[in-house]
Symmetry: C2
Subunit: 247 residues, 2 copies
DNA sequence: CGACGATTTGAAATCAGTCAAGAGCAGTGG
DNA sequence: CCACTGCTCTTGACTGATTTCAAATCGTCG
């Protein structure tokens, strides 16, 4: 293998949606990049920036969020190992949202023009990256539905289900037992609720035996039951047959 | 000009974000397609379908929406002349949301494999289409923020501002005077509110002189004032310098 | 031990939803 | 030309989910 495999998480992620030839894979692995360690709560991109690099997460968690004029924060998505987290901002030239670390993060920064050239030279890779941004879009849509039309209980349960599957896919947890990477206040900002209400809602889910939690760890005793009250249907994650019976 | 110009609205839209060479433009215009007239409220794609065609809107309005298990509906976006409205669904193979006409619609249906081939053969066009889906994503994010973190009044005003600019860009209205293509119930589903509350909110905006309305027509006497109380910043539409001082 | 952030809890306030009914308006058919 | 039908819009009174405000407890890390 002629190249470093540091960027392998990106290849793995791309291969979730598109089969890559060896040369395509090698071309991705050969992308020039700078490695950086970021501490928790650092901004990667700020709304209004004109980023020249895209940021591939190798370890840790990051979020994308926007702020209202009155200071309200809405978290739009969570990102983890293998996600290229500001492809959207950098391809559109001008960032329309913030990207911020949640935990300490190991990341590779790749110049955006190199990514654009790769997409043009290797249509298969371009298609795979396009697909990744489309799946991001699908997740945004589900979040909009979640925030707009589900009550606090359903909404919270739904988020817990999404985490379960997404962590499972990248091997950072099991579907029925994982570590929540967020505080209740951050959950609130992802759910469009207040942290107080998130707290009460989590307690109510626990009281009904739908989840068990100690600290940040979540255990789901009966996946099907939780998925049902969460109104959760994993199709929007577009994981296809990659997961056993996800509901 | 060797080709029909029926697909010109698509070229115009793509050129909002990317400059196209003549050959690229001609390649788009030469796309094989079937024209269809759709009546109001017809489904173009249903959640769960596996569409083989993408649908370019030539006239009229369409929406994308998702339903909760309990029947709640969230409208995710509105589409008009020049929008390729189910690129997302068709490229991902399996539709994760519904696409439905709002009014009578004239549309061109283009086979998805032809679109994929075009994107691969002509990277510039591929990039332009990718960009279009990225801007869609940017609009989803803003809607999530809108629904999750803004109160009913701000939220409603924000939507009115977005419509104003988007209709202006495609030449279907003026920024300060346009025809709303939706009923109040549909507005409610876009805003995550009830139609009763939308009604009261519109009345309250009108009472404060921020909008004037007769039937579906909206007039905005003072754009800056409305944009301000709407917490509206048009950057997320990524229209760049294409609009005079949009705020 | 002390400090700081995160979680938990209670009580009061409020924004938006629900239910229900009437008014306006356009299209249809007699 | 008019009554009828079916939407959409409007309005009022009441309800309720979620927020707000405030304070106590917990946990972890230096």
């Amino acid at each position: 293998m002629p190249f470093s495999t540091i960027l392998m998480p990106m290849v793995t992620k791309l291969q979730l949606w598109t089969r890559l030839e060896d040369e395509d894979r090698d071309a991705v692995l050969a992308l020039p990049h700078k490695l950086r360690s970021l501490r928790a709560h650092e901004y990667i991109v700020r709304d209004g920036d004109e980023p020249r690099h895209s940021c591939l997460i190798l370890g840790g968690f990051a979020i994308r969020h926007k702020l209202t004029g009155s200071g309200g924060r809405q978290i739009m998505s969570i990102h983890m190992k293998g996600d290229v987290v500001d492809l959207q901002n950098s391809l559109l030239r001008s960032a329309d949202h913030n990207v911020q670390t949640l935990t300490n993060v190991e990341a590779a920064f790749i110049p955006i023009d190199v990514i654009e050239k790769l997409a043009a030279d290797r249509p298969t890779v371009g298609k795979a990256m396009w697909n990744e941004t489309l799946v991001d879009g699908a997740i945004f849509r589900e979040w909009t539905l979640n925030v707009g039309r589900r009550d606090a209980r359903t909404r919270t349960a739904h988020l817990l289900c999404e985490f379960a599957l997404r962590l499972e896919v990248v091997g950072l947890g099991e579907r029925c037992h994982y570590e929540l990477p967020m505080t209740q206040e951050q959950l609130a900002d992802a759910l469009g609720l207040t942290s107080v209400h998130v707290n009460r809602t989590l307690k109510s889910l626990a009281a009904d035996g739908l989840i068990e939690r100690t600290n940040r760890s979540v255990r789901i005793p009966d996946w099907k039951k939780l998925a049902e009250i969460a109104d959760f249907d994993s199709r929007y994650l577009h994981l296809d047959q990659r997961l056993p019976a996800a509901t």
